[in-house]
Symmetry: C2
Subunit: 245 residues, 2 copies
Amino acid sequence: MTRTLRLVVAYDGTAYSGWQIQPSRPTVQGLLVAAARPLLGEDIRLTGASRTDAGVHALRQTVSIRTARAVPGGVVVRALNAALPRDVRVLGCDEANAGFDARRAAIGKRYGYLLNDAPIPAPFLLRYAWHVPGALDVASMRRGLAVLRGRHDFSAFRAAAGRDRPPTCVIRALHVVRRRDRIAVVVSADRFLHHMVRNIVGSAVEIGRGARSHTWLADVLASRDRRRAGPTAPAHGLTLIRVLY
Amino acid sequence: MTRTLRLVVAYDGTAYSGWQIQPSRPTVQGLLVAAARPLLGEDIRLTGASRTDAGVHALRQTVSIRTARAVPGGVVVRALNAALPRDVRVLGCDEANAGFDARRAAIGKRYGYLLNDAPIPAPFLLRYAWHVPGALDVASMRRGLAVLRGRHDFSAFRAAAGRDRPPTCVIRALHVVRRRDRIAVVVSADRFLHHMVRNIVGSAVEIGRGARSHTWLADVLASRDRRRAGPTAPAHGLTLIRVLY
């Protein structure tokens, strides 16, 4: 009988070429498959809810594994963590309903993007925050981003060579929070286009540093033209916070 | 004429054999001296307020440099940061009174020690927190540590091969703060013995995990015997927060 396990996985993406398994490159999916096979069999199917890009981190990525073997969740957690490098950790594992697919079952995801606007970049944030020197105007960023809330065609914020899928997403929450010289942009949506958060943040920074007015994004959104939005923010500031089911 | 510069320096200590310059090992003082000489001359004298151990971090280490050259603070900041690796950053530089010595002039220091008591260690905290699995009882830790506040002979908390200097220190503030699965122990004192914070934290963890009662540290302190206190907490959880003048 086939069983489906649901895992919660955290990782520091600094050392990895993203989530998706690739020949001869270290990826998080590749590591998990290699760690899981001795325990769960060669013919497992392992799916992550979010295919995070190279350098992107995850606090709680959800992963489903189909396996023919019956292994208790606690054993899976210990065995995988013993085989994985320390910057990838399985936080929990339980048995899901038959046919559960972490990617297809997700009804939403929440991402966080960390900015550091200190004059000199803080050594502790190097791996986790995009350093933008010169104080950002967070109030303007908030006003500028407000227009993105709700259901829209986000073609203007998809990757230049965007994947061929419907460009409509629903942003349910979008917050900008400052704490000293760290600014977190948190975005929750039913789904995301490729590079969508990083393009939104790159545009928000244009507003925050005064290069664009807070009314700019309404035009960018309506244009559906990627060339109108700001640059893509670097991957290392982005973290998958959680997946919603 | 000799001038004295006062610098504020932040570093991630992970890659370094501590503060103090050593032949053929990477140290923070060694990096700063090498970065400063082309700008400030070969005969500079560079002193840090705290000789942090290998792996210990600093948010605001204070450094004094005596030099015969007159260079504006902003130029020093830019030149040093251009020459230093990204995990060591000069945050500021100004001219101090003649004869200012960052170490001798300090009237106190504040250190923070970060613990992570999640069942599975968080990848993001690997470099900055000591992972102690199993929930720590923070209320007991607070009660147990309270006896250390004030002026005491801290011989019981100095390094086993402690340096030969007076063992009396005044702990002005000592706090234990939990935020989810992260616990910060913050200690301010007029001066610190070698390994003192790490030995205090190692002892606090013994109380937090229930191996010792909250009354234990009164006996340990009175004994002045290093063998009575808890183990030395690992270096990577420790951060010099700031130096007081």
